[in-house]
């Protein structure tokens, strides 16, 4: 039941991670690996689509915190989209909406990269 998968795709200069299932202390290393791969490939414009994310624990939140600074230092960003209310509530309890752009759908997140994309 606590399966967790990540699908990856490109939208021009933006890389999209689609999370599915349960992001817990056991599965969080998969997300870390995904971010490490993106940084290694110098892909710093990242959208994390949470449409099928059923659950996130503090271990999962920690992964986002671990990589956001490196991504922003490279003029990129991690934007989050399509969160269910229960997942959003956990981000909200910690004040994450002040630190991350969280949009209702992926297209909004994509549009917010705006200027960054035209610089490419």
């Amino acid at each position: 039941m606590s399966e967790f998968t990540i699908a990856q795709r490109e939208r021009e200069a933006v890389h999209v991670l689609e999370l599915k299932g349960y992001l817990d202390a056991h599965t969080a290393p998969k997300l870390e690996e995904a971010f490490q791969g993106l940084l290694k490939d110098q892909r710093f414009n990242i959208i994390v689509n949470c449409k099928d994310l059923s659950y996130i624990s503090s271990a999962g939140l920690g992964v986002f915190m671990a990589y956001i600074e490196d991504v922003r230092k490279n003029n990129g960003d991690i934007k989050l989209s399509n969160m269910s209310t229960k997942v959003y509530n956990v981000f909200d309890l910690l004040g994450f909406p002040l630190l991350y752009e969280i949009t209702p759908d992926e297209q909004d997140a994509y549009n917010k990269f705006g200027n960054a994309l035209t610089r490419k």
Binding site: M1, S2, Y22, D24, A25, H26, Y55, S57, S58, A59, L61, G62, M65, A66, I68, E69, K86, N89, V90, L93, L94, G95, L98, L99
Partner: protein, 134 residues
Amino acid sequence: MQRDFTKAVSSLSEIFAFIDEHVAGTGISPAGVYAMYFVVEELFTNMVKYAAASAEDVTIAVGIDGSRLTIQLTDHNVEPFDPANAPKVDPSTPLQERRIGGLGIQLVQQMVDDLQYSYADRCSTITITKTLEP
């Protein structure tokens, strides 16, 4: 209703299933179930991280008393570690100054109605209580 779980993060899916099994039909909301997953995961992974020297299983017990759900985690043959005394983190703290561990416990304290810690006979026991919402 209680069960022993291997002290490793790979036990989490079994623990979630155990919680599901025992809270189903209690009228707990989906948000309440989510909160219980989150809280139990946080407390359990603390035991995995900070009491790894003891390889004994962690016992998790779930009880329902009227509209109150109680979950108890017991870590056997360990030194005392009270998660409720973990330092709190201010969400306005700059990212680089934050400590992940403290954030989890802070959320736990917001998600439950009561959290009690006891230590006896080299066993750490954490008891959380949550009022079930209609």
